[in-house]
């Protein structure tokens, strides 16, 4: 790098430095966005960013500095009357581009949604901001934290909205669904598949719909996301029946084996079934048993592998094949586990449909060993439910409660669902 007058040293290549320089004999003006590993990233006056090896920059002239204001929190929040709690935990819906590193990362302030969510001014937001976290980093302790904060928001407001990353959203939502024995209003999980710095983000409609659902006096935990890939409709899914079924589509969240509880469209909510009514009070049972494992069965799995996942656990959820099967070679190790008190629960890796262990001899034999068929319960829900039951109830009540339809986790009438995926 050749420096010209006015530019001291490489040290001047700080974020916000306004430069005039030559690169391959062509003069450019721009602002330094970053400088690392010998590469300078400059925002040119044309708006383009260019990454330039520092050695290729000539006649560098420092012409001033400018502060780069990256998406700062703005003051004030909507105050439109109808009270609603808003808990921001992180994820894409509360993410923006970090212009310094160029990556999408969680930010604290969801107030930027104001400009783009059409009904937000009807509401008075009671906001609680957690340290933002991408949902793949969440652990059961965080579910408890989210539940406790939601409880406070429920007590101060009507409904509560939880902004959450989509990757593990259905785990957290179903955990809260079991943890709240009674609730005074809806707890609605909202995420987005496109970050809100993008004009096409799905966050705006999802939040608009969640705000509308927050007015409904229901005692349910739900997930509110796009119903299809247009911006016309959002669906409210029951937390214990929803699953993320696509890596990137806006309508990744699906109620499996049935219709979503409700659909929001053009400012109005339409319910497919009546939700459980809101209670007079909130009751939270927030203990969780962590010693629960989940195993995906496959032809190459060895009994030792399964043994390790059963060892020291109080319950284990097996995602078996088809109607709920594992190979004969596992009978021994499963029987040992059941005999030592482990609840071994069978779900299906088909995800859609129910486990039925009476059709084939394998299923019947597994039942006789003591494996508990989870019916139509989703594997992740079966895991969360086991954690909840083992954390809060005596061991002998487990099977009875597990097989009881506590929150709508069993789909009793499997039809063609909402629409084919």
């Amino acid at each position: 790098m050749i420096l010209s007058k006015g530019c001291g040293t490489l040290k001047d290549l700080v974020e916000g430095a306004i430069l005039r320089f030559k690169y391959k004999q062509t003069q450019f003006d721009g602002i330094v966005i970053s400088y690392s590993n010998g590469l300078v990233n400059v925002k040119l006056s044309s708006g383009y960013n260019m990454t330039i090896p520092v050695d290729s920059m000539d006649d560098v002239e420092l012409r001033g500095t400018r502060k780069i204001v990256s998406t700062e929190a703005r003051k004030g929040k909507p105050d439109g009357g109808k009270k609603v709690g808003l808990l921001a935990t992180g994820g894409t819906i509360a993410s923006r581009v970090d212009y310094v590193t160029g990556a999408v990362k969680p930010v604290l302030d969801p107030a930027f949604l104001e400009d783009s969510v059409s009904n937000i001014r009807e509401f008075s937001l009671d906001m609680d901001l957690m340290d933002p976290v991408l949902s793949e980093n969440l652990k059961p302790n965080d579910w408890v934290e989210i539940a406790r904060r939601s409880l406070k928001l429920l007590e101060r407001n009507g409904g509560t909205i939880v902004l959450h990353g989509t990757d593990t959203m259905s785990y957290t939502a179903s955990a809260l669904s079991f943890m709240f024995q009674e609730q005074t209003g809806p707890i609605l999980f909202v995420g987005s598949q496109r970050s809100s710095d993008r004009p096409s983000s799905d966050a705006f409609l999802n939040l608009e719909a969640a705000l509308e659902f927050s007015k409904v006096p229901m005692g349910e935990v739900g997930v509110v996301m796009h119903r299809n890939i247009s911006d016309h409709e959002a669906a409210l899914h029951r937390a214990v029946r929803v699953r993320k079924m696509h890596t990137s589509r806006r309508d990744a969240f699906r109620t499996l084996g049935g219709k979503p509880m409700a659909v929001y469209s053009s400012g109005a909510a339409r319910f497919n079934e009546g939700p459980s009514p809101a209670s007079e009070r909130n009751v939270l049972m927030d203990k969780l048993e962590r010693k629960v494992s989940m195993v995906y069965f496959h032809p190459s799995l060895e009994p030792d592998d399964l043994g390790q996942m059963l060892d020291g656990r109080r319950a284990s959820i097996i995602m078996g094949t088809g109607l709920g099967h594992v190979g004969r070679r596992f009978y021994g190790i499963i029987k040992d586990a059941v005999d030592s008190g482990v609840k071994v629960i069978m779900t299906s890796q088909c995800i859609n449909g129910m486990v039925d262990m009476n059709v084939y001899s394998t299923g019947r034999e597994l039942q006789s060993i003591g494996v508990i068929p989870a019916g139509s319960m989703l594997p992740e829900v079966a895991m969360v439910k086991s954690m909840h039951l083992l954390g809060n109830y005596p061991d002998e009540d487990f099977i009875g409660l597990f097989l009881k339809n506590m929150r709508g986790e069993f789909n009793l009438r499997d039809g063609l669902g909402d629409e084919p995926i």
Partner: protein, 602 residues
């Protein structure tokens, strides 16, 4: 004193093959499967500010329909992150850069350019500078190339109503080379020369899509009152026309501003005058009223005689705003009475009470948009009178330009975080050097040698963008001269006689089958006639008696019959024979027999 005129060009060329960020082909078969509906919201730029063009679009808050074409996937629906950049397109872009003497960037860095007019499902266009600092030498001096970008093309607009705009996804994501010049262009003629010269390089390479809209030009113009960007000029000849138009428009606005001064006190205030038009004789207004619209009127203080009078056309500047918000347009005092509006005029004047120097106008609009139309019109007149004419415009087919939106700023760009930066390696540079497009002269010499054709034929192949087709046909037929004759003469002649469009895939299929049985030239021509003009299925063509070879005896009989029946000579012999005989014969044999017969008879 007026500032010197500055003219620059942005030339956009679509590359054929596959799309820039997915595996979809650039060509569509025209089928569609349903639609997606979206809205777009605004986002801030890297510096935390909103872009003026984006703010303007948000004011129009529209729903966008996207028709799903067969050549689109989740990437075009904005339902999946972009895949790796198409390395073929990148290589071609680098090669074109070298042909235009540009210097290549060390690192390819994709940006998101915010575009919220719906032409991108994501709300932004992905674009990266691949090279800069080049030039072309023209007959009137050197014109510098500032940058070449490799970007994704936008969605193709199908229809545009005020509340809903429809696009097709067939064009979205096609690799687009954007070649921008510095404002070194001298005038309209020169602009045409530069556009042609740059366009040629890519056309000659055979890399552009074979489609009418594969090259589009944006024209940048200024004469001291701010930069005007004229978008999407489709034809070279229109470049000249729109520059002339724009120069006159700006000169006339300057003259008006000098007379009127720069103060515009937001003089437009609308009054609902629908009642006055209950019995109107204007068909346009009646239709709009039936569609639920209303008629509004406003004074234009001090503007009498400036709306449409000689070169003054302020009325048109207002009409452009009206159209953008779904209004059918305006009618103003310089053109009324007219358009079937007559009896309403006096009551209208009684209501508005214009002074002698006041103009006025009426506009048909829906209730929802009239406020924003008013404020946009006031802002527009004020901006014009301050002689800030900078904006984005578009050119129609006649070369007249119209207001489109404010000029975008640098705020509309931020890094595309889904695509990692991509180093331009020495290996890439080496590979691109090997394919740098050749000049016209080099190509003509090469084609003429390679296919054994004349320089003139080679030139026609190039002009008609048939380089890749002749290569293919030559390999099918094993004969470059025949391929050239079929492409340049036979097929175009038959196409003129045909009633249906030619299916080139069928043509290729037929040629392949004929080549397999070592057909002669006449056989190809006859078979193509059956396919193209008579629409016969390929299977039937191949067994048609018309493709049977006629032996010398039969040919002799036929010529003898003709000779006796009517006057034939060497000139009309072959056409007459073709008309009477079914089957393939060798013309030189026919001539020999004809000479024999005429010798015998004499």
């Amino acid at each position: 004193m007026t500032a010197p005129v500055k003219i620059g060009l942005e030339i956009h060329v679509q590359l054929g093959g596959r799309k820039l960020f997915c595996e979809c082909p650039t060509e569509s078969d025209g089928t569609k499967s349903g639609s997606i509906y979206r809205k777009l919201s605004l986002s801030t730029g890297e510096m935390g500010n909103y872009d003026p063009a984006a703010v303007y679009e948000r004011g129009r808050s529209r729903v966008f329909e996207y028709e799903i074409s067969d050549n689109s996937c989740l990437v075009e629906y904005d339902e999946e992150p972009p895949h790796d950049v198409n390395s073929e397109a990148l290589l071609k872009g680098l090669a074109v850069s070298q042909a235009l003497n540009c210097r290549t960037v060390d690192v390819l860095e994709y940006m998101r350019k915010i575009v919220v007019d719906g032409s991108n499902t994501s709300g932004f266009q992905r674009t990266a500078i691949i090279s800069f600092g080049g030039w072309v030498d023209t007959t009137r001096g050197r014109v510098r190339i500032s940058t070449i970008c490799l970007e994704e093309d936008s969605a193709r607009k199908i229809s545009d109503a005020s509340a809903e705009v429809s696009y097709s996804l067939d064009r979205l994501g096609i690799p687009l080379l954007e070649i921008a010049t510095e404002p070194d262009i001298l005038d309209g003629e020169h602009a045409v020369e530069v556009a042609k010269q740059i366009g040629d390089i890519i056309l000659l390479s055979g890399w552009s899509r074979r489609a009418p809209e594969s090259i589009r030009q944006d024209v940048n113009f200024s004469m001291g009152y701010g930069r005007v960007e004229i978008k999407g000029v489709p034809k070279l000849s229109v470049i000249r026309d729109c520059l002339l138009y724009e120069k006159e428009r700006q000169a006339s606005l300057k003259e008006m501003a000098d007379k009127l001064g720069s103060n515009w006190e937001n003089g437009i205030e609308f009054t609902d005058v629908t009642e006055l038009f209950a019995e109107t004789g204007s068909k346009v207004i009646r239709r709009s009223l039936e569609a639920g619209m209303k008629v509004y009127a406003s004074l234009l203080p001090g503007l009498n005689g400036y709306l449409r009078n000689g070169t003054y056309r302020l009325g048109r500047e207002l009409a452009d705003v009206a159209k953008l918000y779904g209004s059918g347009g305006i009618m103003h005092s310089d053109e009324l009475p007219g358009y079937g509006v007559k009896g309403e005029l006096e009551p209208l004047k009684d209501m508005l009470k214009p002074r002698a120097d006041d103009g006025f106008f009426i506009i048909v609009s829906d209730d929802a948009h009239i406020r924003i139309i008013g404020s946009e019109m006031n802002a527009r007149i004020s901006k014009i009178l301050r002689l800030d004419l900078s904006e984005t415009r578009y050119a129609d087919a006649q070369g007249e330009t119209h207001y489109l939106r404010p000029l975008p700023g640098g705020e509309r760009m931020y890094p595309e975080t889904d695509i990692p930066n991509y180093p331009i390696t020495r290996e890439l540079m080496r590979r691109s050097q090997e394919i740098v497009p050749k000049s016209r002269e080099e190509l003509i010499a090469e084609f003429s040698r390679k296919y054994g054709i004349s320089q003139q034929e080679a030139s026609s192949i190039i002009v008609n963008n048939l380089s890749s087709v002749i290569d293919d046909y030559t390999s099918v037929l094993g004969n470059g001269k025949l391929a050239s004759r079929l492409l340049l003469q036979v097929i175009p002649d038959l196409a003129r006689k045909a009633t249906r469009n030619i299916n080139m895939a069928d043509v290729r299929k037929l040629l392949t089958a004929l080549a397999g049985r070592s057909a002669v030239k006449e056989e190809y021509e006859r078979a193509l006639d059956l396919l193209i003009v008579q629409s016969m299925p390929i299977d039937s063509i191949l067994v048609s008696p018309e493709l049977k070879h006629i032996d010398d005896g039969e040919l002799r009989k036929a010529i003898l019959a003709l000779y006796e029946g009517e006057s034939i000579n060497e000139k009309n012999l072959i056409p007459r024979l073709k008309a009477t005989v079914k089957g393939i014969f060798d013309p030189s044999t026919a001539f020999r027999i004809f000479k024999d017969i005429s010798g015998e008879q004499n």
